[in-house]
Amino acid sequence: MRILLTLLLVYIAYPAVAQQENDLGTEAQRAEGKEVYDIKCAHCHGYEGDASAVATPYLRPTPRDFTSGNYKFRSTASGELPTTEDIKRSIRLGMPYTSMPAWEGILSETEITDLAYYLKTFEPAFDGPYGNPTVVEIPRAPSYSADPDHLARGQEIFAANQCADCHGENGRGNGESAPELMDDWGDPIRAADMTKRWTFRAGATREDIYRTFMTGLNGTPMPSYEQTIDAEDRWALVDYVWSLSRDTPDYGTTVTVQGRSGELVLSEGLFEAAPQVYFPIVGQITEPGRAFYPGVNGISVKAVYNNSEIAIQLQWHDMTAETDGMNNPLIEMPMFDPAQPDTTMDGWSDAVAILLPSRTPEGLERPYFMFGDSRFPMSIWYTDLATDSAAVLIGQGSGRIADNGIALERSASYEDGVWTVQFKGPRNQGELTMPEATFVPISFTIWDGFNGERGNKRGLSAWYHLYLEPMETQSAVLPMAKWFLIVLGAELLIVGLVNLRARRRKTA
């Protein structure tokens, strides 16, 4: 009984004790933390924690400046410092689709704790009266509800709180003010694309989404909505946001091209039944013009073909459509140099290209995935979206790209954050043929004009495949019946013979 009473007293007294003392770790823990920090973290976050280091200028979003005390991910009220556990969580899980990796499994739990204590030393406020922030309570999430009324309520909350101003009408990160967003340090920052939940920096579970709009992201334009959204509406908003995205990017490797009997007329309906595949787009960082923060991170592809032609539809999310100005894969780009940042960001239009081999490859050989080479040139289906034409260019490497005179049919439209570009060209282009039931290498390049992308400053993909599904697939019924009967016949023969012999033996 006495023990129980003591435990009860400790339990009651505990929060009071915790509130008086800031959780700063021991001298030894902080020293251990520094050891890890200087090896694993300093090259991005700076030896002084001020986000000034060799790698910093190459990264966007910019690595956290710990001397500011502004932490994006927190469980605490907007504007407050994070808890030790919050800092540890960010280290453990990292920030998806940024240069901040998840350190869980690489650093030990002790090392992560030590690091968190060391990070706190960069901001004196951790040692002051604000060092013990108020934690915003996250209730246990009710299970996800796709009830239309519930989601409609969420959408109302989304509209009422002007979420669309930054995140766009349908959450594609293309709101009206999205292009001007800056973080507290004056660096451009993108509003999250809610249709790509896997890129959410503070986590992609429903509790994470709840926490993010309750606490806001310090240092960014994302405020807290704790005061403006009533408790009963919060999960409706969470579920609405949740409903906008699939769970994983589900990256594909092959575009299955479906056969069509009639003429291919470029239109929305042409691709309706064709399967869609999603590929990652990353920065071109192999050659000069290195794009360390490309504007586009993925592309969806559909394709159909008929007897003589192939039509390919590309779709990607883009904050703004740049249809003025110009673009060209031949524009010469200097090496990326932090000392001389790219200042000629204006005047570049959006552009896109489908990259194919210039001849049907035998075996594994294909053009160098940058822009081809002289050994194996590349066929580049290019369109500058400031124009309304498209052409086939022949690439023999960056800077060695020429128009080969084949015109392509093209249609392009931009609506609510999505570019849709459709190409149509002949299936036989000189040495490149696209027979049925074969795999043809394909890759993609996107220039985001808003991001100053042109020439070799671009987003690109690795080599993937097109597969032309045969127009007439052989029915499996006949071969199945054939094999069934052959095996059954063999069985009957064996069993029959065995029985015959057994009977003979018996009679004998």
Binding site: K40, H43, S99, P101, T286, Y368, F439, M480, A502
Partner: protein, 275 residues
Amino acid sequence: MNLFVLLAIAAAMVLVQFVVTRWVKLNLLAWMGIWWVALWAAFSYGINPPLPNSIIVLFMAIITIALVAYLSADNEELKQAQESIVRFMVTRQYRVALLIVMFLIPAAVAAWTFASMNEAPQPPSSGRTIHPPPPSSITFQGTSINLTTANNPIRELQHTDEAAFAEHVANGRRIYFENCFYCHGDNMEGAGMFAHGYDPLPANFNDATTIAMLQESYLFWRIAKGAPGLPSESTPWSSAMPAWEDFLTEEEIWEVIIFLYEFTGFEPRAQGMPH
């Protein structure tokens, strides 16, 4: 290895051996069938990353031959097995079971035919050579470097001038984080922020089969000449590795090599050791 699956298979086998046999007497054929299924399950589900189907088929063919060989090694056992099959075919009380089996076998073949005709077509697999043999010498920014004899000039400072060595390591660190970590990653595990968009994936330097088993001159070749310098069996057309001779000096490349070893804790393979 998928330890959980392998343990489950082993446990099932133990269960059959010591528990099931108390009630049911298993003859040799049943035992062979159980072994066959257990091994098939182990190959199909117990190994990570999964084996290609063609390899599993090959393994199972070998196992089938081995089991038949085992059976035919002993005349008595062979005869017993033969008799039990014949008994199954001629005895009246097994008639229903026999009919079921006689239906199931062709049905399985038909199902297999259906599955193989409806299989998603597979793109040609790359079968890429990861560490191709290096050339004996390369031309680096106009001068010839003999790769069989070249040593990292910074390596000797490790013991003679620690301060100078540390400075080179620091420089290597700067070069790595200005140029390499977007693909090869913060922790050199080949999981940088752009790694998911490239094929082949960037090399993982923490893996014992990369820099730990290579000479420093080999790394020099790979860094200096990048993807364009690969032989065709290593698919130079798809690797995103730049030819760093266009951007870095000879000393900078040696420095970043030193840093890779310092950071991962590996030692380079000494010059002159056979492959």
